[in-house]
Amino acid sequence: MTDRLNERTARDESVHGPTADGPSASDRQPLLAPETRERIAAEIRRFPQRRTALLPALKMAQAQIGWLPPGSIAEVAGLVGVSHAAANELASFYSMLRLRPGGRSKVEVCVQLPCALAGGEKLLAVLSDALDIAPGEVTPDGSIELIRTAECFGACHRAPMCRVNDEYHEHLTPEATRGLIEALRAGTFEQPGANGNASPPAASSA
């Protein structure tokens, strides 16, 4: 499981390190599709101050690419009109923003106390068995990433539960879990571009 404490060191290096800015965004092929840039421009117009759009804009970039490669963060910073470091500070802080590529479906199992008391740990073990990966790993074909999380998703009364990408799967009885595993194996939830391949922007809003 990611640990914000350890990550922070890495983040601070990435903010201050010599490679932080790299070649300027304009020197390269842009990572953000025209549609994404449009959405970000509209988001900037939506708020009293441009910078408020920084977090939504990063989410829009991620919705297109699946994660946030350094170049995409620089492009977002340029569009919003803040420094690359300012954009990096957000990208490295929020747990929903991802600085590394992951599986095309992300299965996040909640094991915070209420869920752990109602089958969350067992759900994690069942999924881990069925997918043959440990929490924190991605299946060899890159399709599914299993994540153990101690954050609470506000679904404790419907435990055990997990989130698959942005969708809640609650009341995961053994039968429901079997159905979920089948659907996962069939690629039902896979999001295009989540491995970092260029792809059209996802339809969901940030």
């Binding site: 914000r4 803040v82 209420p114």
Partner: protein, 442 residues
């Protein structure tokens, strides 16, 4: 191969208190109440009334109602609105919909099922403090709730209830939903404002308080979802009526109790403040403990307030009674632990949360939560000594009161309250050299 035990789905029990819920009037419902249905049930009458009143009169009405903030601290809502200075220029109303406390799922249900109730509350609050811009800051994971709020705001705009020249009054109000990205600290109101400004969400030092210098350094009120969802009812039916619910003067109105953990029927239960005890809520609403088990302790406010032992179960569920019993009602996210639960493991799991969610700004909180977590893990495995209990208490003492925001204090309560009240169970672990409990129950 591991298996998962069947659990009964969420059910609604027969009421033990004669009360008709108003914040969640449709128990068990999964679809949103949209504009037409909301209006048929009297929705937006409070707003229509408020906008004919002077803003100060609206504040007075909410003050007299006794409504206290439902976000945790229980601060009187009307008084908070009254702190906003009467100055020219922008002011902001911000609804805190970041709900991320372990065990909390009430704001989610309000927003998913009654999005218009929140929109109406935001509108009334904005008008009262003289704000023409309002934000609903919602945690990023609540995608469904955010989409439904967006839809409700669009409907309300279409109907002239928000937007330009509301109800022909000349008052303009823009309500925007802002979606977060996963960080508990954004629930802390000044970190939330930093997040809204596009900065790294680390709490600000106070004073100045947000009422004077908040969003974009302008006067700002931050209120919880449930707080604002109460407001339409107060305006529609009057503060005198509101005071007949609960225990006036300091514990008025309905409260949603989130019940989770080792109970047969976990869920949201809306009841008047002070109308039931912990025991009544657990037994008569929550259907008791699985397998007829016994309660070991209850966390009244998720991971953030001290656990209460089973001898406190007859405490009434209101702000003052829970405080008198040695804890806090907070967001009323009740996590029930029964005799099958290892208290050390439970404390370690909660501490893992705080370790992960510490924003890192204050060294005692950043380093201390990691230490506390490591020591608890070690103790749970039976690899500790009584010196470790002293270490836990002294580490906690170095965090509590020495940091910038309440998260640091919250982070010590799973530790200090369990070490004090369940000391024997800690001792048992290192006497045996292992945890005496089975792996996680259920």
């Amino acid at each position: 191969m591991t298996t998962i035990e069947e659990r009964p789905p969420e059910q609604q029990p027969s009421a033990a208190v004669d009360y008709r819920p108003m914040l969640l009037p449709h128990p068990g419902r999964t679809t949103p109440v949209m504009l037409e249905e909301y209006r048929q049930a009297g929705g937006y009458q409070g707003w229509e009334k408020a906008i004919t009143m002077a803003p100060d009169a609206v504040i007075e009405e909410v003050k007299s109602s006794g409504l206290r903030g439902r976000g945790g601290a229980g601060f009187p809502a009307g008084a908070k609105w009254g702190f906003v200075p009467k100055v020219d220029g922008p002011k902001y109303m911000v609804c805190n919909a970041d709900e991320s406390e372990p065990g909390a799922f009430k704001d989610r249900e309000i927003m998913e099922i009654e999005p218009h109730m929140l929109v109406e509350g935001v509108a009334i609050g904005s008008y009262a403090i003289g704000a023409q811009d309002a934000f609903i800051y919602i945690r990023g994971e609540y995608v469904t709730a955010a989409d439904r709020l967006d839809a409700a705001i669009a409907e309300a705009e279409q109907a002239g209830l928000v937007g330009g020249n509301v109800l022909g009054s000349g008052y303009n109000l823009t309500i925007r939903v802002f979606r977060g990205a996963g960080a508990y600290i954004c629930g802390e109101e000044t970190a939330l404002l930093e997040s809204l400004e596009g900065r790294r969400p680390m709490p600000r030092s106070r004073p100045p308080f947000p009422a004077v210098e908040g969003l974009y350094r302008r006067p700002t009120v931050v209120n919880n979802v449930e707080t604002l969802a109460n407001v339409p009812h107060i305006l529609r039916n009057g503060q005198e009526w509101y005071q007949t619910i609960g225990v006036p003067p300091k514990n008025t109105g309905p409260k949603i109790f989130c019940l989770s953990g080792r109970v047969n029927r976990p869920g949201n239960y809306e009841l008047p403040l002070g109308s039931v005890t912990f025991r009544e809520l657990i037994e008569q609403y929550g259907g008791g403990i699985p397998n007829g088990g016994a309660v070991k302790g209850v966390l009244p406010a998720g991971a953030s307030a001290p656990i209460l032992t089973a001898d406190k179960l007859d405490t009434r569920l209101d702000y003052d009674s829970v405080q008198a019993a040695g804890s806090m009602l907070g967001s009323a996210s009740l996590i029930v632990l029964d005799e099958t639960v290892c208290i050390v493991r439970a404390a370690a799991r909660m501490e893992e949360f705080f370790r992960h969610e510490s924003c890192g700004k204050c060294t005692p909180c950043r380093e201390g939560t990691a230490w506390l977590h490591e020591v608890l893990l070690r103790l749970e495995q039976g690899r500790g000594s009584s010196a470790d209990l002293d270490l836990l208490m002294s580490l906690s003492g170095q965090i509590s009161g020495k940091v910038l925001c309440a998260l640091g204090d919250f982070a010590t309560s799973p530790v200090t309250a369990t070490v004090r009240q369940y000391r024997d169970e800690y001792l048992e672990h290192f006497r045996l050299g292992r945890c005496p409990y089975d792996s996680w129950a259920a």
